[in-house]
Amino acid sequence: MAPVSLTYQRYSTKPAQWWIGAALRGLVDASGIPHSGFDGLSLASFTLGPDPAIAMTQHFGMTTRWVDSLAMGGASGIAAIRRAARALEAGDVDIVACIAADTNYTDTFRQLLAGFTRFSQDAVYPHGAGGANASFAHLTNAYMDRYGVTRADFGRVCVAQRQNALHNPRAIMKKPLALEEYLSARPIVDPLGLFDCVMPVAGAEAFLLMRGDTMRKHGLKGARLLASIERHNAFPEDPVQYRGGWALDVDELYGMAGVAPGDIDVVQTYDDYPVIVMMQFEDLGFCAKGESAAFVADNDLTIGGSFPHNTTGGQLSAGQAGAAGGHLGIVETIRQVTGTAASTQVEGARLGLASGFGMINYDRGLASGAVIFAGEDL
């Protein structure tokens, strides 16, 4: 509960610690619980160095009995929920503040790419320094070849998300995007153009996790976690990644939740590039493998459409606040199923799915995960 999204900034003069502090205050304001009452802290950040997560307890005057630090990029949010949920279940902790925050100074992003991981530093970045754009260009190439997908197919995802972003006052992109503009955009790393790539920003996303009894004791309302999955380095034998770990775990996800893909009212996929959105549609069971292009063409992905998807505009239009990119969809899902999404609210949304994907360590993304949330009355 207590979903908190700070307004993103293209560049920030403040460090990640400042954004974490602001997110904590946001959680206090949203829940009415003082931060001294948070006995668990779960953090995801690329730019917190040299601080580890534990340093934040002293920095912000908290005494916690549980601290977690997630370094799984865009899968950190899902992993944070899974770990915190187990700790809550076991009674190790009562209220966990889950925060993802990153700053973006003027040269932060380049430095982040240059030292992303050892494999990336040793074997990818020195070959043209294309960063994640180049890695996703290969994935996109291979996916297009394999399934006959075109740039226009990807464009439909980006255009729909931009329409959604126009309803999100926090989105960094404020102008509508036409398919023609998408197709004629400046090439970045072929076949990716400008609107295939996320805008790195500074920002934070946060929420609280607690057991139902704690929630009711504090007089709060929230979303209920029905199911979650997580997988790392799935399908290492695939020469080029065309599926993620979701494909291994999808039956467990819906089985645990007791629902089917068709029951989901609103979906937030991890969308640093449209190709990975397409893979999630397939691997999470919304359409068959290789049929995302037709699925996207047959559906309206906007807030009021047949398949409401990335209702904030997603990272592609709202911006990518570092590790918070993986929390963006989770926070929005909590809002959607609790009916508090305001201008991006999908009418009658009660079941929501959020997925995460992260860490292009070398030639593919390693981490994948998903959660299903229900509104309290379900």
């Binding site: 992003f109 380049r110 790419l113 240059a114 030292g115 050892r118 494999f119 530093q121 040793d122 074997a123 990818v124 970045y125 020195p126 070959h127 043209g128 320094a129 294309g130 960063g131 754009n133 180049a134 260009a137 290969h138 190439n141 291979a142 070849d145 400046r186 090439p187 970045i188 790393v189 072929d190 076949p191 020469p239 080029v240 070398y362 030639d363």
Partner: protein, 414 residues
Amino acid sequence: MSIQRPRPPRKNPLSRTTAPLLPPPGRSRAAHGLTQAAALGQFALHQCPECQTVSYPARDACPKCLCGNLVVTPVPNGGTVLSVTTIQISGEPYFRRLAPARQALIALDCGPTIVAEARPDCQTGMRASASLQLDKAGQPVIYARPENGSPDSDSDPHWRELVADPLHRRCLITDGRNPITLPLAKALLGSGAAKVLIGISERWKPFADAAKLEALGAVELVDLDLADDQSVSAVAADYGARTDILIHNALHLRPGSILAGGELLKARDAMDVSYFGALRLAHHFGPIMRARGADRDNSAAAWVNVLSIFAHLSWPGFAAYSATQAASLSFSQALRAEMRGSGVRVLDVFTGPMEIDWLEHLPPPKVQPSAVAHEIVAALKSGEEERWVGDVAKDFRERFRANPKEIERDLWRQ
């Protein structure tokens, strides 16, 4: 890919000399196993000595059996291109200057998938061959070209960053009397060098090759006494800004024992041209070359130190000479560190005893001066940092690495 690049036009003296920029230099310790292979012009990756699995990127244990003693081993360099992309936009100033860059994902026949800089004619589905190169930061990268394409990659500006091709470059050979000079001048001009400047000391002394050198065409002989600071300074003042490849090949080879009284003088003389000569060259040519490391297509590109294998181990009977070589090897390492950031490659060429008058008493095999010359040019064209020329040098390298005491004892028998 075989159309030869025309000679760059004369530089506009009013335009800014492009400052050297570097590609991302960070590498792990394990990755430097590939630095060693790239320096020697080999394609080698980490291989597991237990299960033979080849792994890449550089790991600290085998991903199949977890053996922790991976060995960088020469492996087949062929593979199939899975995807190629063109990086139009990069955040790194070095690649922004060179944009666009081609990058390929290649499934190697020996197992791993590699990311490589790709020649523009590499296409998805094609067979490609990979080579390990040192980039302008002196760090290992992989370059890929079509397996059945032209062997010449010169038309790719990204390839030209990885090598020190003499094409259109102006070269200085510091010791005209070294027997490698004539074949080296020929080989450089044969590879398209724009000019070869040759230093000669004490021109009043007989110099048989002078006429042959001058007959080569784009060759100029200049007075250069490496033992004289003013002489080196004067040549640098005239030619420093037009020296793209400097080849320091001072040869002062005299037999002698350190127990003999005259050895001190000999050692001083030898040091004066070899080691102190190198220092004088570094002082007068080094700063200009450093500044010109990215000066268009005929930038300063390389500094070659022609060294003896006896830089590594004193040669009985040639103590002073061996000492100059050891000092010169140390000079070369120092120069490489000083040149870091400039993009100027420092190449060490190690030779065994050459087929020359002074070494008439040695039995074969001895290396021909022309072989040394050709291998210097080959090493420049393929962007190496270290080359061992001839059978004796290769034999020495292997045995010295395996057991220096064995080869030290063996040299006593000569």
